[in-house]
Each structure stands twice: as structure tokens, then as C-alpha cells.
Amino acid sequence: MERKHTISVLVENEFGVLARVAGLFSSKGYNIDSLSVSETIDPTLSRMTIVTHGSDQIVEQIIKQLNKLVNVITVEDLTRERHITCELCLVKVRIEHKADVLKAAEKLRARILENNSHAIVLEITGDEDDLHKAFEALKPFGIMEVVRTGMIAIQRGEHVLVEGKGK
């Protein structure tokens, strides 16, 4: 049975690492639903959050293959743990129904980043469900453009992604 998995990966912060990870997914035919990557507090490390889907066997292979990459330090399938996911998106909306848009924005707890005679730009954060609901609420007013960061995720409780686990 195919399931969605959120995988966190600590990698060495070097050029080419993203290409190795992306190349692994494309060469083995694995799916990437979203991928986000950025430096951590330790500047020698980057953290990736990869959302993928596949059968248990495929996801097990994905994790093992990621672990084989020399620049990959830790891999964890957060789907197995209690975790929080979050994504940020920017939505540009038409101004024709400005009052309604601003009302909706308040309801959605969106930040208003731009509000002028050309467009309204909203910043919305939340999990996949929250974003979906936001798009549905804004669609009637005319969404001009959407840009999303991709999902990021963190474990609940005291657990943190540390160097060495799973290698």
C-alpha cells in the first residue's frame, strides 16, 4: 500500500549534495512530492525535508539509499514518530474584492505583506490541510500566483535529529 512519508535528512553543507539527493530519486524512479533544504544552526550542516510516497518496501529502500550517500549524515522517517509539519506560502490575490480578501485573511491568520492598488500578497503558514483550506477560501476572489516553500517537519517532544543515528 502506498503511503505518504516525511523524511528528514541531515547532510554536509557542501556543493553538489542536493544534486546527489535529487539524482538518487530520479535515477531510482522514486517520487518527490516536495523537498526543502536549508542550512542549520551548525553552518557545516544542512537539513532537508523530503515528502515522498510509495509502498513500505520502496520507502525502506529510499531510506537505505539515502544513508548510502557519503554526504548524508542522518536519515529519519518522521512518519513513524509524532511530528509537526509546516509550510509557508505566499499568495497574490486580485484587488477587486479587497474587503472580502482582507476579511478572509484575518480568518486565515494570514499576514498581509502587500496591499495596494495592484495586488494583495498574503503570507500563510500551516500544514497541508491548512493551505488547502486557504486556497479554497481565496479562490473565489481570484488567485493570481502562489509560491510555496515545500513542507518542513520536526519531531514532537524532546527528540531531535542528531548526527550518527541510523548510519
Binding site: 547532510v11 525502506e60 529502500q61 539509499q65 544513508n67 550517500l69 557519503v70 550518527g164 548510519k167
Partner: protein, 577 residues
Amino acid sequence: MNQMMLAEAPAKMTGAQIFLRTIHDLGVDTIFGYPGGVLLYVYDEIFKQDKIKHILVRHEQGATHMADGYARVTGRPGVVLATSGPGATNTVTGLATAMMDSVPMVCFTGQVPVQLIGNDAFQEADIVGITRPCTKHNYLVKDANDLERIIHQAFYIASSGRPGPVLVDIPKDVTLATAEYKGIKQVTMRGYKPQVVPAAGPMEEAVELIYQSKRPVLYMGGGIVASNASDLVRQFAEKLRLPVGITLMGLGGFPGAHDLSMGMIGMHGGYWANMAMNNADLLIALGPRFDDRVTGDLKKFAVKAKKIHLDIDASSIGKNVAVDVALVGDAKQVLEKLLKIVDKDPERARAFRESITSWHDQIKRWRDEHPIYYPQDMNGVLRPQYVIQSIYDITGGDCIVTTDVGQHQMWTAQIFPFNKPRRWCTSGGLGTMGYGLPAALGAQVAHPDETVFCISGDGSIQMNIQELATAVQFKLPVKTAILNNFYLGMVRQWQEYFYGHRYSNSDLEAGMPDFVKLAEAYGAVGFLCNKPKDVEPILRESLKVKKPVLIDFQVAKEENVLPMVPAGKALDDMLLA
């Protein structure tokens, strides 16, 4: 002796000097290479020293296969040096070959100066990008200060865990820049720590599964050879009297002439061996990877068997076939511990050996029903199998054998009993035609006093024939036996069986060179042999000649490799002779 090689660390050196000094520190005695514009500082340093031998190849693909042959027979990483652009892209096939067969190799490529990278400079290629999927890891060295550390890391990665090729791309300006040579002794990497020591629990469980089995088969792969665990596998098989089925890559890892050996398994494995695999109630898989050429139709593969799988690469386990017990670790360490568990209770082992007698009887019946068969009565027709048998008989098996890819490769695997590890080089995973001759040269460089045979085909040999020049230049007396049927024999065989005898583009007769003249043109020795009675005298003569020899064995044109499991069929669904 050049000063650079004697200098005590720390010392200021150019990148080119650090390169040579560091590989010398790592025990490298031979480079297989070919010069080019961006490598001239490196070649200038090679010129000035005599510690490291440089074998000048005639094509960079040849260099990679030579390094591969060198690595397979010694267990040490083979070293390649190729220039930027086309020199680098020519290494790709050899890297992919080494990757598929887990062969340790370090390939150094020259690159255009750092400032020119990305500018489509003359002889520029993004070789790090190109080789990412066919290397275990690769590097672009942008600063001479990183060079020494990266070279140490490259060798460590290539030769540890599941071995494989590593590429190091060095821009020209980095070879000229000065940096401090530090005399690094060892390296650690945050993201690379191969698991060699196995967990204890699964090993107890594995031995228990063996004792519960009634029809066990030890399914042995190339991991045993890579881990130098042959002696331990032999002890293990003998103590439990396990019949052993061997993959193409595992040949020699268990003695082929041993009573317990069932020879090769898989698409062209023996009938008895494949029947044993598919009727087993337990497969003890030691270092294979459940390749499709072994399993046939996965849905019908060894369905009655529980499976124990030992591999140092966790991703090999459960990749194609679900297993009951996973043993992740170095084969040598795992087998040492398994043997200890078995030795704790010799009485139980003895009882087990006796309990599987009827299973051995069954395997013997299968073997008697359909042995590997080729007609002995030849009526003057030279059969390819006879040539291979004769090479074994005349050398007493005491030689290193390389092959190319196709029918000759499968016949060699079926007929030649490899009794020792690291005496057999063949491209198993990638199936690279043109591998055999350069691999034989690499093996001969590593073992100058051994007899090295390259068993090839008329198609394959023409793919890297230019390396005869390397053989002659470096006085490498490799014996190449071409089993010449004037066809791409394996392609023709498939076309005969599965494509209505339509021999589309598999006939090589038009344009077939005169191999004797070709050998002579290079300064090697050529023989033509087309009669069974001439095989032995010609082979004996070729062994006396201290030069490279090319023998054109013109054999029966439409001989087939049997048994054969057609692609996608179940392992016990074989075409038989």
C-alpha cells in the same frame, strides 16, 4: 629518487607533487593512464620519479578495465589517470562496470582551470555530474589545500564497506598551486561509517533457521570474494554440509571442484543447481544481491524457502526479495561469529549433516539427469567448450582468467572450475564487452609471474583491441583465446530462440579481421586454430611464448549456451541441451 617523494611532512609542494606523494603514501604502485593538456604538470612529476609505475594505455576505457582487473586480483584499489573532457568521459563505462561489480577503484581526471569551469572551455566536461550515478562517490577539488585529504577519503571510500569506484576531478591550476603536504595518516567522515560489525541476535537466529531446515542451499555471491572470506565459507559449508550454489561474481569464492559445489546458478547455471535453489526450504545467501540473472521471475523464485541474507550493504537486503533474517556486516566477521555458534554444539552439527543426506541425494539425481553437456564426439568440428576445457586441463587451473561478455563468458563460467578467489575477472553486472583484454593486462601487471588468459569472443575482442599495443609496450604476456564463431553469439542465440531465427545485425563475418596478422601488426604473436587436434599443441606453444598471444579459435558457428532460463521465466523453467 626525486626529492618530493622523500620529503618529511609538513612540506610545501605543488598539487601535482601532493597527488603523487599521497597516492604513494597510500601504497599505490601502478597508475593506468593517458596524458592530456590539463594533466601536464602531473605527467611532469611522473617523469621525475620511479616509485610509481605508469602504464600508458591506448584508450581511457582500457585504463579503467586494467585498474579493475588489477583490483579484482589483488583486492587493492586500481588507479586510473585520465585527462579532462573526452579522456574523462571515456572512463564512464569502466566506472559503471566497477560500480555494478563492487570493485575498488580511484579514477583521477584532469579538469580545466577552476576559473574556466562552466565556460564550455576546450576539453571541458562536467565529469562529476556525469559520473555521479556510476561512482560510489566523487569529488571536484577546487583548492590544492584539500587535495591530500580528498585523496585519502577517496581511497578509504573505494576500499571500505561495499567497495566501488571513486572519481576525483582535479583542475589544472590546482595541480600547479602550492599547498602544505601534511602527511595525513587517516581520515574520518561524518556521513560515511560502514557497518562492518554485525548485530548478535540475528546470527543466533540464522543458525537456528539452518538447523530447522531440511533442504538448505548456501547461495554465495561476490561479497565473499570482496571480503576475503573464502576460507570461512568453506569451513561453514563443510561443517554443516551445505550444498553451495555460486553466482557469476562469486566463482572462486568457494572451490568449484569441491564436492559441495553445485557450480554456477542462474540463467546459465546447472540444472541441478537451479532445481536446488527453487526447491530449497532455506536459502543462506552470503554476499549475493538477488540479481535478476540469478532469480529469474521473482514471483516464482525460491518460494518455498526462508531466506537469510548477509550483505555489508543494507540496501541490498530486501531490495528484490523479502528476507527472514538480515545480517548486515562484513562477511568475514559474520562468518567468524556464525562458525563460533556452530562450534558450540558439534553434536548438533553432526546430526544436522546426517539429516540432510536425502537432500544431497536429490541434488545428485538432478545432476545425473542433466549434467552440463556438450558433445564430446566432435567429428573434426571445434567446439568452443572444448577450448575452455583444454585451457583448464593444460594449466591445471593454475591461471587467472578474464572474459568478455557473451557466450564465451557463460561457457567459461560453466566449465572452468575456479578453485581459488581473485583468479576470475568478468563483467557480471554491467556486462561490458571489451572488458576482458584490458582486465587481463591489469591482472598481469599485478601478478607478473602468473599465467593470465583472456577468454574472449570475436565481437568483444574488437571493442578494446587497441590495448594489444599496451601489452606489447609493457611486455605483458597475456594469452587471449578468441572463441570466434563469426557471430555476436549470445545475440544470435536469443534471435534463434526468441526472434524466429532472424539474425538481425549479429553476423560479424564481413569485415572480420585476420587476427593472426593483426596480432603480428602489433608485435604480438598470433595463432589460428580450427581443428580440435590442434588446440592442445597451440595452447602449449602459446604458454612458451613470453609475449602477448592472440589465438583465433574458429569454432562451431551456431553452438548455444545451455541450460538457459529464458529472461523473465522461473529459475526451474530451463531450456536444456
